[in-house]
Amino acid sequence: MSNILIVDDSMTMRQMVNFTLSSAGHTVTEAGNTDDALLNAQKQRFDLVISDVNMPGRSGIELVTELRKLADYKFVPIILLTTESQPEMKSKGRAAGATGWIVKPFDPEALLGVLRKVLPAS
């Protein structure tokens, strides 16, 4: 199973994603903002990062940009999970290097399906 980092300023949302992924057997680490996420990412290597876009401080798109600068995260899948659905925002995420874009509310089965697609087969 995979080691996954969740980044969201909402504890409720982190819990929901954590529960969904833990139930599928993944190991989950939570971060409440971009800075904590970057610290965690530098401490250990995650197989996947799921991040919100609109957060206090630096946004999720900035997090993607910063992660892509790290050598360990050049090819790690990064999924943006957000309420935003505007095409221009999606374009910004794609330009920053995000792997996927999921609009909240997410369906747990759909989220796990996306993970199966982007995570390397173990």
Partner: protein, 402 residues
């Protein structure tokens, strides 16, 4: 004449009228006869008085209209003053309402934050409890399903069997036990056959002993005959022969005694063997019957157990299906709980600009109020809730007017 709104004096009016009549009279008096001049003079004087009267009455009318107009103007000034006072009061009330609205808006914003925090805390608490319950439920299901599954990896060295496998192994064990009991029964039967052979052999020994006893009798008779022959041949040296005969007799007696004791012993052995045979045969029969009965019972037990195992399997399948349904419900709950977060984000997006716009409007109201000269005290007083007398009750009630 009355452009300035004032009335001319009576003397000036008379002089003007006289001038208007007499100037043509003076101009034409030289050319007219005297009586015409006198009559025209009288008519001119009359005309002057008549004209004076008309002008005088018209002036009174104009003065009355002027006074009335002045009164109207004064009333309009009073009304304008009253309107200005009312407008000031209204602006004071408006400013006070703006203050109240701003305070209420700030309070609403604080309450909104509190509601958001409480909702998030509640959702977090529900989520944690939900996660714990689901973890326990999942563990129970895993334990239940593990009953039907064998430990196939065997990595820890300790393997356990599934329930059907356990039943099969149990049946194999019982078959083995039954088989061993059947073997025991066969062995006891074999032993019985051996005992029969031994008994036959003992009978043969008996016959041999009888033969030995006959031989002993014949030896004793031979010894007696030897003694008689020796006595008959007295005088000759036959003592050695007598001694031999005595020894033969003694030997024969001992042999006889020995065969008797052997017979007794063999008789006892035969009796014991016979009793053992009967008991062993009886025990073998019992064991065989018990084994057959045990096999039948175990078969019935196995059938019942297998049936029970099928029921357990069905129940576990139902539990598994129920678990899948619960999982679907959980997914729906997860989706529903996300709306709390989405609502919160939307409210955050709305709250800041809304509050900023409201505060800007409030500042503008305050600025306009200050420009209009509305005192802050008056505004604050105007912002106080009006106390309205309820005609139906003796006491007053608070009504906030926004």
């Amino acid at each position: 004449m009355l452009d300035d709104g004032k009335t001319a004096s009576p003397l000036k009016t008379v002089l003007l009228c006289a001038a208007a009549v007499l100037v043509p009279w003076v101009w034409g008096v030289w050319a007219m006869p005297p009586w015409v001049a006198l009559v025209s003079l009288l008519l001119s004087a009359a005309a002057v008085f008549l004209l004076y009267g008309l002008i005088k009455s018209h002036g009174a009318t104009i003065r009355a209209e002027t006074v009335a107009a002045q009164r109207v103007e004064l009333r309009q000034v009073d009304a304008a003053g009253e309107s200005e006072t009312a407008l000031r009061q209204m602006m004071g009330s408006w400013l006070g309402s703006a203050h109240t609205a701003g305070a209420n808006l700030r309070q609403a914003s604080t309450l909104l934050d509190e509601v958001t925090q409480q909702t998030e805390a509640a959702a977090t608490s529900i989520g944690k409890s939900f996660q714990q319950v689901m973890s326990k439920t999942g563990q129970q299901m895993d334990d239940a399903v593990r009953l039907l599954k064998s430990n196939s990896d065997g990595a820890g060295g300790s393997t356990w069997l599934s329930l059907p496998d356990f039943i099969k192994a149990y049946e194999q064990q019982l078959d083995a036990v039954t088989g061993r009991m059947m073997d025991f029964s066969k062995a006891s039967e074999e032993m019985s056959r051996h005992q029969s052979v031994v008994r036959d052999h003992s009978l043969a020994i008996d016959e041999m002993l009888d033969e030995l006893r006959n031989m002993a009798a014949r030896i004793r008779k031979l010894a007696l005959d030897s003694t008689v022959a020796a006595n008959r041949d007295a005088g000759s040296d036959t003592r050695w022969f007598v001694e031999i005969a005595d020894r033969i007799r003694e030997t024969s007696t001992s042999a006889h005694e020995l065969t008797r004791r052997m017979r007794d012993g063999l008789e006892k052995i035969r009796e014991v063997m016979s009793g053992t045979y009967e008991e062993l045969s009886k025990s073998g029969d019992n064991v065989r019957l018990a084994a057959v009965q045990a096999k039948v019972d175990v078969s019935q037990l196995n059938i019942a157990t297998m049936e029970k195992a099928r029921e357990v399997t069905g129940t576990l399948e139902k539990i598994t299906d129920l678990g899948k349904e619960v999982r679907r419900d959980i997914n729906q709950i997860i989706v529903a709980m996300q709306y709390q977060d989405i609502t919160q984000q939307k409210l955050e997006q709305i709250k800041a600009p809304l509050l900023a716009a409201a505060m800007a409007g409030l500042a503008q109201c305050e600025a306009q109020g200050r420009a209009a000269g509305v005192a802050a005290g008056a505004a604050a007083a105007a912002a106080q809730p009006a106390r309205v007398q309820d005609p139906g009750k003796s006491k007053t009630v608070d009504v906030e007017l926004f």
